[in-house]
């Protein structure tokens, strides 16, 4: 019963162990299949290679998932993030496309500010529906999920707006210190959200509201305000992700920008260990979850799995990831092994069966 064994158990017990393990396994499998997978080259002073691509492409998902983490932590859900991506991208691109000089930095910043402003309104709309009017989050945000696509189409007048703006393109494809700029934007957003929640008491209050809303109310927390706030944060995160998505292709398509990103984001949050029932949230877990999903997508393309069956492959991997993480599943698995210690939690469980 050495120290090493204890340390191993502590490591396996850490909530980030399984997401990291899954990520490592996926990278290893890719390397076996395609030995050059992990190679990183330097071209024109920038780093290139599949790992860098994965990081760059996962940036929008990380952003959306950060906001989603907070929303889910309050016991809610935000289905409208994909539409918010499309709307913000459309607003920014429309403004830039009308400008005389599409490369003017000030003009691009104005475009971004306008789009963020719109996102604030959209987030406030969701927040009011949920916290003031009291509509169930899934329904409240479904409204904007569906209507938002129409709104994006309205902005682009049903066309795909193409632009040719250097500064805007940089959001998606630019480089900074040899790495893609998008990585830094996602990283900055993550640090900002972390500081915003963990350096203040906001994180604890969000978790408290998500864990037990009535008890939080009786402890003097104005839970309505907290709930409102997280939907606004979520919309702003989605808007920035929308910039990246449209900047990647230098065009805004109201129909396809950010399509289904809400589902990937929810998945990233869940893989990261935040419960859909609300309560504790884990930003680092969410980021890992987003990386896992993007690695998976890249893997599917790299292995030449046909796009028709790619989603099925993705689904299977996701199910495995979720099962491996579920304590109940692992407990059952380890109990079958001879000599394995019985799970310690059993007396607690019995207690909970007493009817109130």
């Amino acid at each position: 019963m050495s120290d090493a064994k204890n340390r191993f158990q502590a490591m396996v017990g850490h909530r980030l162990f399984w997401p990291v393990a899954v990520l490592v396994v996926m990278l290893a499998a890719n390397t076996l299949y395609r030995p050059g997978f992990l190679t990183i080259e330097v071209k024109d002073g920038h780093l290139y290679g599949t790992p860098i691509d994965i990081l760059r492409l996962s940036a929008p998902l990380i952003l959306v998932a950060l906001g989603m983490t907070l929303v889910i932590s309050t016991g809610g859900i935000d289905l409208s993030v994909g539409s918010v991506c499309a709307i913000s991208g459309a607003i920014a691109c429309l403004y830039i496309s009308k400008a005389p000089d599409q490369n003017a930095l000030g003009m691009v910043l104005t475009a971004l500010a306008m789009a963020i402003g719109a996102a604030l309104v959209l987030g406030a709309w969701n927040g009011i529906l949920v916290s003031v009017i009291g509509i169930q989050p899934i329904i409240a945000t479904l409204i904007l999920m569906v209507a938002g696509r129409g709104l994006a189409q309205l902005i682009t007048e049903g066309q795909i707006i193409t632009i040719n703006s250097g500064p805007y393109r940089a959001i998606g494809l630019g480089h900074f210190l040899t790495l893609p700029l998008a990585i830094f934007i996602a990283l900055a957003a993550a640090l900002l959200v972390a500081a915003f929640t963990r350096r203040t008491a906001l994180g604890m209050i969000i978790e408290s509201v998500g864990g037990n809303r009535e008890a939080s109310r009786l402890a003097g927390i104005r839970s309505g305000r907290v709930v409102f706030l997280v939907y606004v944060v979520s919309a702003v995160c989605a808007a920035i992700a929308g910039f990246m998505m449209t900047a990647n292709v230098s065009s805004a398509d109201g129909n396809s920008a950010g399509l289904w990103v809400e589902l990937d984001a929810i998945l990233a949050v869940v893989i990261g260990g935040t419960s859909l029932a609300g309560g504790r949230f884990f930003l680092s877990g969410t980021i890992l979850g987003a990386l896992i999903i993007q690695t998976l997508t890249t893997t599917v393309y790299a292995m030449n799995i046909s796009p028709q069956t790619a989603l099925l492959f993705k689904a299977v991997v996701v199910i495995v990831v979720c099962l491996v993480q579920a304590p109940a599943f692992r407990a059952r698995f380890s109990r079958r092994r001879p000599g394995a210690a019985p799970p310690e939690a059993s007396p607690q469980r019995q207690k909970e069966q007493v009817p109130a």
Partner: protein
Amino acid sequence: MTDSRPVLTMTGISKSFPGVRALHNVDFRLFPGEVHALMGENGAGKSTLIKVLTGVYGIDDGIITLGGEQVAFSGPMQAAAAGVSTVYQEVNLCPNLSVAENIFIGREPRRFGAVRWGEVRRRARQLLARLDLDIDVTAPVASYSLAVQQMIAIARAIDVQARVLILDEPTSSLDAGEVEQLFRIMRQLRDEGIAILFVTHFLDQVYGIADRITVLRNGTLVGEHPTAELPQLALVEKMIGKELDVLERIEEHPRRELAALEGGTPFVEVSDLSRKGAVAPFSLTIHAGEVVGLAGLLGSGRTEVARLLFGADRADRGQVAVGGKPTGLRTPVQAIDRGIGFCSENRRAEGIIADLSVRENMILAMQAARGWLRPIPRRRQDELVDKYIKALSIRPANPDVPVRNLSGGNQQKVLLARWLITEPRLLILDEPTRGIDIGAKAEIQKLVVQLSDGGMAVLFISAELEEVLRLSHKIAVMRDRELVAQLTNDDAVDADRVMQTIASGSQREEANQ
């Protein structure tokens, strides 16, 4: 009691849940044509008895017979088919369906597989006419009052040739007129020969309708009595029981005279505060350093009073003054701002945040009052949390474990700490010692004494009279959602006296003696 043979007998019924013996060797009989009240305090085993009878739970031991034959139902549906129907406290109808649909849901008269809607409506009208209820059977249930909904539920229950009708607290959300309407129907059904098992917390109602009373306490049978032979006081005694006081006595410290306390300005002055359906208008004054006990049976409105004082529910009318200034207590935030703290009786649903750590649970109320932008510095947190973990001897003494891993008593102490940290001037404790072990109980009682010595006002709510008597300077007695008396806790007041007040509801002359 026209028939000498019971329609239903339960003999030697025992039922245990892990760690709890819910019923132990309980006998129960029900005769045709009687209203039989099942009485007992919370946790006495009333609900469990009903649930084993209707097959929601299996029994560990014992025999149930219906009409002379031994039965063991697999669930409420089967019980209903055999003639044992239940109407629950929460009316479980589908509010969006029509009255007729609700009555016949799941057993609609059919022809060739198609529901005969005309027949459904005709029979629904017939059935309701039997209950003297003239309503539109095609209207949705939600368009009727709770009382009428209750009748509809009864109509559904008796349609299946019911021999036994179980009414589990049917009156808890009805007003006086509606209760009378319900009683009329119960008498009518009784006269038709149906045996009615009636569970309620309202003593007046028991004496208004029941023919016999069975009392349970702590899962055992205390006795079965004809109502006429059991005076109210005796009933209350049987329900509460004269428990041996195993608690170490709170040292006889010189309890400051109430008169001295009442000299200063009152901290809270409530006049005619009320909320419809929760508590009738009441007036109450609480001074700094005073412990006011709130006694009364479960469901008598004790918790409702506490919730109004904390702004957890909004009062319909009445005035509150805190520290001499008129104020509204419309939300918990306001109440906390005025220096009031509240430990709910429902620890799990309204108290702890199970996911969060002991530390977070403790500082929650203080942090909420500061606002999220001003987090309590870590060092200050450590100071506060360590102080209260020590002061209340919370086990394990680790602030970073999730509070769900603590025992009930320790969770209760964490909640106490949450409020003590906010340094309230009035602390409302609703059943702070329920369901916790004796050691923790004594510690919490001691703490209440210390706090009041330090000048804090405490409103202490407990079902245990001994506890209320030991701690309070003044005892307010609740009965049927009304504050019926305020007794100064001097030598003349003992448990019998309070029980008498609970039972008889005698008015204020008590207070003046």
